[in-house]
């Protein structure tokens, strides 16, 4: 055509869906590229208050000449951008997500509905207890339920996630030892432990000492005994451990640790495997953290939020962070109470309250027998899946698994140069999210598989067949297809080296012409 198209009218169209997997594989523009000067989505309530300008309200030395550079987009373009991004992301709601240790089970919509109740979401965290009796009752009830599940005496709900719970537990350990007039410097952790354990130990002011695993993948009790002395504050253990194996010698382990005056810390990431079967308290643990976003199915939110309550035995209860919701039988009221020797607050408010509400709904729905069925389903699915892939993978530690198992692709790598990573990526093409890779560190070419109890037996069988297909194919083509996978995803394998070397943590106009 003859006329010139005005510059201002060109640029990515927010309504173009070429990045939606449904219709294409283009890169989704950033929200900044969808920006147009003066465009807006916002509107605010009519208040009837005089419209003083910023200069009348803010001292000159504090007033910014202009507001922060944010995108200027229409609500329509923003919603389309967000919806397309959501279509470029896998989720539990789309299919199985067998990430070992992460417990990606179905997150009941019922719990979302509970977490949307205005009477819960509308409360200010600083409202006096008298105004939020419902919330205190909720927190109190959840604490009691968590104590019943773990066999503990008291709990704090403040930790926002498992790692926060770990650090809380270690600070409790420290406070307790100090109360006993002891200074101790070491905390033992198995070599199969999750990375947060040693990291938390350091932040807790302790030195992390590794306890090697034995040939069965369990704590080597003899080596443990050698490491135990009166400088040991305690032992952190995950049971079932990160290999999905139950530490059958837990009683001896507990006795040995207690003998030297140490405390036993339970990393609850795998609590889902033993719900209603055995309780950490009965095993001799003193401190327990739970990952409500795993065991009790609160949604992981793409990486968070979670909740990591910590429960303890009677003797440690006085040290818990406060305040805690307590029930006063006389007045039939709930009050905030801070334990007399509390280590102090560990959250700005009361923890991830709406997440706690979700978990409590989950627990109430299942009830006692129901939670046992959760464990049964989780273990049954994992045990079945492990047996169905026996022969195609190696199992360096082959005791009966609990809710997850760790397979090794070391043999395949040796024979066909195909890595666990390649098999994981190829697994995507079969319609499944990959298992956890390369963890725990004590297994070479590890694939850690946790089907969870909410996957039907047919889905578990389909995963088994897919894993077999992937491995058999790799054996046949020496990993050719696996190494090229995935091909049907919005992007193929990404250049992680470039990301770290040529760091681009923020959008900058000059570097983002869509390359697709």
């Amino acid at each position: 055509m003859t006329q010139q198209v005005p510059e201002i009218l060109t640029g990515p169209g927010g309504g173009q869906a070429a990045s939606a997997p449904l219709a294409g594989r283009e890169a989704e523009p950033t929200v900044f590229e969808l920006s147009s000067p003066g465009r807006r989505a916002w509107s605010f309530r009519e208040t009837g208050i005089d419209e003083w300008d910023a200069a009348d309200l803010v001292p000159a030395e504090h007033l910014a000449p202009e507001p922060p550079a944010l995108p200027e987009v229409s609500e329509r373009d923003l919603v389309a951008h967000a919806t397309r991004m959501s279509h470029r992301n896998y989720s539990v709601d789309l299919g199985a997500y067998p990430l070992g240790s992460c417990t990606m089970k179905y997150n009941p919509k019922l719990c979302d509905a509970v977490a949307a109740l205005p009477g819960l979401t509308g409360c200010h965290p600083a409202q006096p207890a008298a105004q939020v009796q419902g919330w205190l009752a909720l927190l109190h009830g959840l604490s009691e339920a968590l104590c019943a599940v773990t066999g503990m005496a008291a709990a704090t709900l403040q930790p926002a996630a498992g790692a926060a719970g770990e650090l809380t537990g270690l600070l409790l350990m420290r406070a307790w030892h100090e109360a006993q007039g002891r200074q101790r410097s070491k905390v033992l952790i198995p070599d199969s432990a999750h990375g947060t354990n040693p990291a938390s130990v350091t932040l807790g002011g302790y030195q992390a000492v590794e306890v090697p695993s034995n040939g069965r993948g369990l704590v080597d009790v003899d080596r443990l005994r050698e490491l135990l002395d009166d400088d040991v504050a305690g032992l952190m253990l995950t049971n079932p451990n990160t290999l999905g194996l139950f530490e059958v010698q837990i009683e001896e382990i507990a006795a040995a640790v207690h003998e030297v005056g140490g405390l036993l810390y339970y990393d609850g990431a795998n609590l889902n495997a033993i719900l209603g079967v055995v309780r950490p308290g009965d095993m001799g643990f003193d401190i327990v953290h739970m990952n409500l976003h795993k065991t009790f199915a609160t949604p992981h939110g793409g990486g968070g939020p979670g909740a990591g309550p910590v429960a303890v035995t009677e003797r440690l209860a006085p040290f818990l962070p406060g305040p805690l919701a307590a029930y006063d039988g006389e007045t039939d009221r709930y009050e905030w109470v801070t334990p007399e020797r509390s280590i102090g607050r560990i959250h700005l408010w009361h923890g991830n309250a709406m997440v706690l509400a979700r978990a409590y709904a989950y627990i109430l729905g299942y009830g006692g027998e129901g939670l046992r069925r959760v464990a049964d389903g989780a273990v049954l699915n994992a045990r079945y899946l492990k047996e169905r892939v026996r022969g195609v993978f190696d199992f360096p530690y082959d005791d009966p698994c609990m809710h997850e198992f760790v397979a090794s692709a070391a043999g395949l790598r040796r024979r066909h140069r195909v890595k666990a990573l390649d098999l994981a990526k190829r697994f995507i093409e079969e319609g499944f999210h990959p298992p956890t890779m390369y963890f725990p560190l004590i297994v070479d070419e590890a694939l850690m598989v946790e089907p969870t109890e909410t996957e039907s037996p047919q889905t578990v069988e389909a995963m088994a067949q897919a894993l077999r297909t992937v491995v058999e194919e790799a054996a046949a083509d020496d990993g050719a297809r696996a190494q090229a996978a995935p091909v049907s995803t919005p992007v193929g394998r990404v250049d992680e080296v470039r990301a770290a070397r040529d760091l681009r943590p923020v959008w900058r106009p000059e570097v983002t012409e869509p390359s697709a």
Partner: protein
């Protein structure tokens, strides 16, 4: 009861048979019998979906929500802002809600890009170069900020302004027991921080903008003192105030931390919120930046792509030497915050801040007319401010609640030097009528 375990008895039998087991108990045969729970857990039996819902509706009715039954003039770190329907809808997409940490980038471009945009916007709001993908809350962000500063400077003494939220200070003290930080408090004089003359040992200064009493701090001044002492300035910055205030980054702060609740989150009884963390470029970034970081890169076909990067700082790689122990963070809350920031845009964010300030100014004009009610600090404020009362704040607040108001937050416990004082916050959601009603109610209850 709702049952999310799909296995039918026939399927369970078939799976057990395949495994050569007789019953489900056999799954646990290797667990010492002595440890096994006898007679099940001590919990009530399950309930149906609607009974569970009814249970929580009952609990909800036993609350008097600030956003609902009451008219809210309380802030102090949790704010009753308008939450756009579109933001709720976008952040509520189940692909964001029910996915895990984006460790498999090919299947997680949605979450990764949303976080990348969050990081970028947070840098604009704070005036920083690099932001992480969220921390737990404002308190944990402050702790991580101090830890980074201590590590970067090799000094364990940190000076914390008394204008920092009392709960944040409490959390700092709690974690200092483990990290070994030597936490010193710098007092407030007339509402703003009076730093000690000798900061020689200091690894960090932590100041809030505005501070807990709503007063505007001299961030540039604090930055100068920090520079002089070889310390880093960590600024606890209110993201809404950032709509009108000079970005703390441009004022010389090295690290910006804060609480992101006002963007995308309801009051929610205090959580989940999101810990904001951003800082200047610096040697410490690659080594000490806490938490996850998303970076832009390309895929095998050269298409723009996003991925978690610099993970060698993190616990899953570096373990006991990690920059932090954080793993699960507040991703979907950060995503909601990003959507809300984009919904506001520059003009909307400024308008938001200005509207809060207008309401606060109007409220001040009304409240100071009440005999015995006066500003508790001289320093200029934005939309939160402390007032001295003729009667105990607790009493006033209790009576105000009977009048239908959550009047503010009692300061007498945390700031006894202010006497009977309370903190009043006005957001853009408060109308002239709300404020007139509040002033009338306060006049009545203090009379």
């Amino acid at each position: 009861m709702p049952d999310y375990v799909p296995h039918t008895p026939a399927e369970i039998d078939a799976m057990l048979a395949f495994l050569g087991l007789d019953d489900l108990d056999d799954l646990y045969a290797h667990i010492p019998a002595s440890l096994r729970v006898a007679g099940g857990l001590d919990l009530e039996s399950g309930r149906s979906e609607s009974d569970v819902m009814a249970f929580f509706e009952d609990l909800a009715h036993r609350n008097h929500p600030a956003a609902g039954d009451l008219v809210c003039f309380a802030g102090g770190g949790a704010y009753d802002h308008e939450l756009p329907a579109a933001v709720r809808a976008m952040a509520g997409r189940s692909e964001f809600l029910t996915s895990y940490t984006p460790y498999q980038p090919e299947l997680a471009q949605g979450v990764l890009q949303a976080l990348f945009e969050y990081q970028t916007m947070l840098c604009s709001v704070t005036g920083m170069d690099i932001a992480n993908a969220s921390l737990y809350d404002g308190a944990s962000a402050a702790v991580e900020g101090l830890n980074l500063a201590a590590a970067a400077t090799g000094r364990s003494t940190v000076w914390v302004s008394a204008g920092i939220h009392p709960h944040v200070r409490a959390v700092i003290h709690t974690f200092a027991a483990g990290s070994g930080l030597d936490v010193r408090i710098a007092p407030l004089v007339d509402g703003t921080t009076a730093w000690p003359d000798d900061l020689a040992e200091a690894g960090a200064l932590l100041v809030a903008q505005p501070n807990y009493l709503g007063c505007l701090e001299d961030v540039a001044g604090a930055a100068a003192r920090a520079e002089a002492a070889g310390a880093l300035l960590v600024a606890y910055a209110d993201p809404v105030a950032a709509g009108v205030l000079n970005p703390v980054g441009q004022q010389g702060a090295h690290v910006a931390v804060g609480e992101g609740q006002p963007f995308g989150n309801p009051l929610g009884f205090g959580g989940p919120y999101v810990g904001l963390f951003a800082c200047k470029e610096g040697a410490y970034v690659r080594r000490w930046l806490p938490g996850r970081l998303v970076g832009e890169t390309v895929d095998t076909e050269g298409r723009r792509a996003y991925v978690l990067t610099l993970s060698t700082r993190e616990q899953h790689i570096r373990r006991e030497k990690a920059s932090s122990n954080v793993c699960t963070n507040q991703t979907v809350i950060a995503i909601a915050a990003a959507f809300h920031m984009a919904w506001l845009g520059p003009e909307g964010l400024r308008e938001l801040a200005v509207r809060c300030a207008r309401g606060a100014r109007y409220a001040r004009e009304q409240l100071v007319r009440i005999p015995g009610v006066e500003p508790a600090c001289l320093a200029p404020t934005l939309y939160e401010q402390a007032f001295r009362l003729p009667i105990p704040a607790a009493t006033a607040l209790e009576r105000l609640s009977e009048e239908g108001f959550l009047g503010g937050i009692d300061l007498s416990g945390d700031y006894p030097e202010l006497g009977d004082a309370f903190l009043v916050t006005v957001t853009e959601t408060r109308t002239r009528a709300d404020i007139d009603g509040f002033a009338a109610a306060l006049e009545k209850v203090v009379a």
